[in-house]
Amino acid sequence: MNNTKRAKELEEIILKHSSPAGRILSILEEIQEREGYLSKESLKYISKRLNIPLADLYSLVTFYSFFNLERGGKHTITVCMGTACYVKGAPKIIEELERRLGIKEGETTSDGIFTIKSARCFGACSMAPVVRINERIYGYVFPESLPSLLKLYGWKEK
C-alpha cells in the first residue's frame, strides 16, 4: 500500500473511533481487520498521529495475543485449547494439523494459504473439541475428520 492511501485509510479509522474508552484498541483492531495484520508503517503512523510513543504502542500490540505483526495465511485455522477441548484431545488435533500442513503452530504454509493458531476457548465447549476456520466454528472435530474439513478450504492431500 502506498503512503498516501494508507494515510487516508488510517485517518478514516481514527475519525471513526473518537470516543476515549477503548479508542486505541478499537483503532488497532480495525486496522488489523482491514489489512490482516499491523504493519510497522501503520503503527508508526498511529504513534505520531495520536502522540503515543512507538515503544508504548509496540508494547501494547505484543501484549495482546489478538494482534498480528505479520501477515497470516488466507485461511486461519484456530484450534481451541480450552479445558474442555484439551480434555477431549485438542493437542492431538494440533499435532495432526501440523503434520498434515507441514508447519508449526503460529506459522503459515509456504503457499500462504493456511495459518495454524491456538486459542484459549471460544465458549463452544459443549462441542469440544472445537476448531475455528476463519469465522466459522466447527464442533466435534477429531484428527480423523481433519482432512475432509481442510478440503472444504481447498486443501489437497498429497
Binding site: L25, T83, K88, R120, G123, A124, G139
Partner: protein, 562 residues
C-alpha cells in the same frame, strides 16, 4: 418510537406477544454459537426457503440457546393453543418433514425432546396451552429437573435481536420500577436480595454499589465484565447472545443507582456473535429511548459503549480491564485504591460480571426479600454453570446456590458417557481446583468451595473421568496461567515458569520428593505474594490435585525410581 411510560411499554409488549404466541405457527431456531457450530444456521436457511410462500401461516425466527447443548440444533415450535415443543438434533434435511407435520397441526414425535405448557419469565408469566400427551414435559427431563431458570429464563425462548419480544415477556418493567424509586432505595433492594458477584470472588453487589455511589464525583462509570476468560466457561457468552437486553437493563438500573451516565461492556474478541447481538440490542434500546437522554421521560440519561478485548485473560481482572479500556497494556495495579474509588479515568467505577447484571432486573421484579429466599443463606439466588467434559448431558445448567455437586454431575449431567468412572470436577477454571468424587456431597456455595481449596469462579465445570491424569491437568492449567500472566510481578511470572518446569520433570518421571516439596513451597509463595488474583489463585489446580490426588504425583516419582 420513544418509550416514555408504562403504557408505551405495554403497547409494544402487545406487539411482541403476537410474535411469541400469536395466530401464526412459530418456528424458532436456536442460533447461539453452539447451535451454529452444529449447523443450526443451515437449519434456519432451509426453513427460510421452505416457508417462502407460507409467511401468512408460519412465523420463522431466531432465538438464543436453551442450554441443552448436547441436543443441538434445537428448534422450538409453537402451534397456537398448544404447548411450545422443543425439537432436538434437527438436520437441515428434516426441515421439510417437520414443516409438513406442523402445518397439519402435528409435532413429529421422534424429533420432540420436550414440551413447555407454561413458563415463568419472572417478569411475566406465559401460558402456551395444553396437550401433546405423548411428549414429555420440560420438567420431566433429568437435564432440566433440578434446574431453576432465573438468569436463563428468556434464553432460547425469545429473539435476542428483537426488543419487542423482550418487552413482551416483561422486559424493561424493572427499569421503569427502579426509575420511580430513589437511587438509595434501589441499592437497598439489591442489598436486601443478598446478591453476590458472579464473576468469581462473590463480593456483595449492593455493597459495591453503595461504596461507588457514596464516592462523590462529577463522573462515574459502570462496567460489565464480559471478558469470560476461564476456559471451559461460556455462560456469559450465552447470556449475551440469548438475552442481551437483560444485561443492558441491569446496567441502566445500576447506572441510575450509582449515579453513572456511562456504561461500558468489555467483551472478549473471541465472541463475535455475542458482540453482534449486544450491538444490535444497544442500537434498538437507543431507538426506543431506553438508552440515551431522559430515559422513560425521567431526567436520568445513560448510554452504553462496547469495548472489545484483544486476547488477554488477565484483562478480566478489574484494574487490568480499566487499563485496557484506557488504551494501555492490561497490567494490574495494586489495590487500594479500588475501582469504586478510583476506576476508569480515575473516577468511581463499579465493575460487575455479566451474570451479576442479569440478576438485577430479576431482583427488581421479585423484590429483594423474595430473591434472598432463593438458594442458601448468605448465598442467594442461582448460578449458571457450564457443564462440559466427560459427562453425558452437556450444557448450561442453572441451579439454586447450595445445590449439591452430585446433583449437577450425576442427576443433571447423567455421569460419564463412556462408562468410565467420574473422577473429579474442575471448578473455577485456572483459578479453581479439582474436586474429587468424595467431595460431590458438597453444596455449591462460595464458602464450601473455598474450603475445598477451589473457588466458584465464573461457573466452568469440567467433568473428568478416571482416564484423565490429574498431574497433566495441573500442568495444563499452570501452562495456561503462565502464558496469560501479565509478567509484571515476579512470583507469578518467574514462579509459574518454574512450576511448569517441575511439573514437566515429574511427568517425564525424573521428579523426586524434593521436587514435590519445592512445588508446594513455591505454590504457597506465589499464592501469598502475587500482585493480583491471577497469580494468587494460579497455584490452586496444583494445590488441590496435590491435596486430593497426591498418589498420582507420587506414582510418577516412584515410576522413575526403578
Amino acid at each position: 418510537m420513544k418509550i416514555r411510560s408504562l403504557e408505551d411499554l405495554e403497547e409494544i409488549a402487545h406487539r411482541g406477544i403476537q410474535k411469541i404466541k400469536g395466530e401464526k405457527i412459530r418456528i424458532a431456531v436456536g442460533l447461539g454459537t453452539c447451535g451454529i457450530a452444529t449447523g443450526a444456521d443451515y437449519v434456519y436457511t432451509y426453513f427460510e426457503n421452505a416457508i417462502k410462500d407460507l409467511t401468512e401461516r408460519v412465523f420463522l425466527t431466531k432465538v438464543g440457546c436453551f442450554g441443552y447443548c448436547s441436543e443441538e440444533p434445537l428448534v422450538k415450535v409453537t402451534i397456537p393453543g398448544k404447548p411450545l415443543t422443543i425439537l432436538s438434533k434437527v438436520n437441515p434435511e428434516e426441515t421439510e418433514e417437520i414443516l409438513r407435520a406442523v402445518l397439519s397441526g402435528e409435532i413429529p414425535d421422534k424429533k420432540a425432546l420436550c414440551k413447555i405448557e407454561e413458563w415463568n419469565h419472572i417478569t411475566e408469566y406465559m401460558v402456551y396451552g395444553k396437550g401433546l400427551a405423548n411428549i414429555p414435559s420440560y420438567s420431566d427431563l433429568p437435564f432440566f429437573r433440578g434446574q431453576l431458570k432465573l438468569v436463563l429464563r428468556n434464553a432460547g425462548l425469545i429473539n435476542p435481536e428483537d426488543l419487542e419480544e423482550y418487552i413482551a415477556i416483561g422486559g424493561y418493567k424493572s427499569l421503569h420500577k427502579a426509575l420511580n424509586m430513589k437511587p438509595e432505595e434501589v441499592i437497598e433492594e439489591v442489598k436486601r436480595a443478598g446478591l453476590r458477584g458472579r464473576g468469581g470472588a462473590g463480593f456483595p453487589t449492593g455493597l459495591k454499589w453503595e461504596i461507588t455511589a457514596k464516592n462523590e464525583s462529577d463522573e462515574k462509570y459502570v462496567i460489565c465484565n464480559a471478558d469470560e476468560g476461564d476456559p471451559g466457561a461460556y455462560m456469559n457468552r450465552n447470556e449475551l447472545e440469548s438475552d442481551p437486553h437483560a444485561v443492558i437493563e441491569g446496567m441502566i438500573i445500576g447506572g441510575y443507582a450509582i449515579g453513572a451516565k456511562e456504561g461500558i461492556i468489555y467483551i472478549r474478541a473471541e465472541y463475535p456473535l455475542a458482540i453482534k447481538r449486544i450491538e444490535t440490542a444497544i442500537k434498538q434500546a437507543r431507538e426506543y429511548g431506553l438508552l440515551g437522554e431522559n430515559i422513560f421521560g425521567s431526567n436520568f440519561s445513560f448510554d452504553i459503549k462496547i469495548v472489545k478485548g484483544a486476547g488477554a485473560f488477565v484483562c478480566g481482572e478489574e484494574t487490568a480491564m480499566i487499563a485496557s479500556i484506557e488504551g494501555k497494556t492490561g497490567r494490574p495495579r495494586p489495590r487500594p485504591p479500588f475501582p469504586a474509588e478510583k476506576g476508569l479515568w480515575g473516577k468511581p467505577t463499579s465493575i460487575n460480571n455479566v451474570e451479576t447484571w442479569c440478576n438485577i432486573p430479576i431482583i427488581l421484579a421479585m423484590g429483594g426479600e423474595r430473591f434472598s429466599k432463593v438458594g442458601k443463606e448468605n448465598n442467594a439466588g442461582t448460578k449458571v454453570f457450564s457443564l462440559v467434559g466427560e459427562v453425558k448431558r452437556i450444557g448450561l445448567v442453572e441451579v439454586p446456590l447450595g445445590t449439591k455437586l452430585k446433583t449437577i454431575v450425576h442427576d443433571i449431567g447423567g455421569g460419564s458417557p463412556s462408562g468410565l468412572k467420574v473422577k473429579a470436577v474442575q471448578i473455577g477454571g485456572p483459578s479453581g481446583g479439582c474436586i474429587p468424587e468424595e467431595g460431590f456431597d458438597t453444596p455449591i456455595d462460595y464458602e464450601s468451595l473455598r474450603d475445598l481449596g477451589t473457588i466458584m469462579g465464573s461457573g466452568g465445570m469440567v467433568v473428568m473421568s478416571e482416564k484423565t491424569s490429574m498431574v497433566e491437568t495441573a500442568l495444563f492449567f499452570i501452562g495456561f496461567t503462565s502464558e496469560e500472566s501479565c509478567g509484571k510481578c515476579t512470583p507469578c511470572r518467574e514462579g509459574l515458569k518454574q512450576m511448569l518446569h517441575i511439573l514437566h520433570k515429574i511427568l517425564s518421571r525424573r521428579g523426586s520428593e524434593e521436587d514435590l516439596k519445592l512445588l508446594e513451597e513455591l505454590s504457597m509463595t506465589i499464592q501469598t505474594t502475587s500482585l493480583c488474583g491471577l497469580g494468587k489463585t494460579a497455584p490452586n489446580p496444583v494445590l488441590t490435585t496435590l491435596r486430593y490426588f497426591r498418589e498420582e504425583y507420587e506414582g510418577l516419582i516412584n515410576d522413575g525410581k526403578d
